[in-house]
């Protein structure tokens, strides 16, 4: 039997999405939206927790100790206490392991300079809250194309 090295292929599997948001209601909503679009979901309540999950935490060795290699996409709120979604994006893009994982930024505020800033830093997409099913469907399609 051949064993294939596990990579981030999503062809027949559900993509694994890490959703980061400090708001309890929004976390529940994004989780349900993603699950409805056949994604496996892990949620984190802030940037630090997200980095820890991904194996990029301050105390962790920059290695395979985290779940970074299992995550196919990260979707994060912009306005969070401590570390903003933009700062989280930067940390992810600085990581040799995670820099190619698509990062989507969500915000309730439609501020063009903020959007540009995120896209320039490498965000895959910027989405306006509150998220709707059609937004996530569109995202899911993009994700499939990415991996294809």
């Amino acid at each position: 039997m051949d064993f294939y090295a596990s990579s981030s292929t999503v062809s027949s599997e559900e993509p694994h999405v890490l959703a980061v948001d400090d708001n309890l209601v929004d976390r529940k909503l994004v989780e349900r939206l993603l699950k409805k679009s056949s994604c496996k979901v892990t949620t984190a309540e802030n940037g630090l927790r997200a980095l820890e999950y991904l194996g990029l935490g301050a105390d962790q060795e920059h290695s395979t100790n985290g779940n970074g290699s299992k995550v196919n996409m990260i979707i994060t709120d912009y306005c969070m206490p401590g570390m903003t979604g933009y700062e989280l994006l930067k940390k992810i893009k600085e990581s040799s392991i995670l820099k190619d994982v698509p990062v989507v930024i969500m915000s309730s505020e439609n501020i063009p300079t903020r959007i540009d800033e995120c896209l320039e830093e490498g965000a895959q997409m910027f989405m306006l809250k509150p998220l709707k099913h059609s937004d996530v469907k569109r995202l899911r399609c993009q994700l499939m194309q990415c991996q294809g």
């Binding site: 309890l24 529940k28 349900r32 309730s108 809250k129 509150p130």
Partner: protein, 151 residues
């Protein structure tokens, strides 16, 4: 009351909530996310919204009661409240948050207190309405009926 009557009351009540601006299209989004595998999704999210809001309203009351009001903190709380009310479709609560943030920026304590009063009223109204809606749903189910889908 028989099922048909209950269902009609439900539809009328739901429609009035939209027509009177208590709920907006985002609430319909929540309903669409509910299905057989997640039959209580709307109640669950709305319950989280109630918990979250009550905590935030308490925090706002305390923050505005301080001798030296920390307006950044007040604004942060209002931002959260705006976010969650927007995500569940509680339109009137969400709309109250906009002027609140303005007077926060102006560091106007009196005006903030007035806004807080207004938000509390709107919150209690929508909480009451949603609880009534959920009770109607339970009555329909108890009478053996299905909850009508609204578009």
């Amino acid at each position: 009351m028989e099922v048909g009557q209950l269902q009609r009351s439900f539809i009328e009540y739901m429609s009035s909530l939209f027509n009177e601006g208590f709920l907006d299209a985002q609430f319909s989004q929540l309903q669409q996310l509910q299905d057989e595998s997640n039959p209580d999704f709307v109640v669950e999210v709305v319950s989280l919204f109630f918990e979250d809001s009550e905590r935030l309203l308490n925090d706002l009351t305390m923050a505005l009661d301080q001798p030296n009001v920390d307006f950044k903190q007040v604004d942060a709380h209002v931002h959260q409240l705006k976010g969650s009310s927007s995500s569940v479709g509680a339109q009137r609560v969400k709309n109250c948050c906009v002027p609140f943030r303005s007077v926060c920026e102006e560091k106007n304590t009196e005006a903030c207190l007035r806004c807080l009063q207004q938000i509390k009223q709107e919150y209690l109204l929508v909480k009451n309405k949603l609880q009534t809606l959920f009770e109607l749903e339970q009555q329909i189910v108890a009478a053996g009926g299905a909850i009508p889908m609204m578009q």
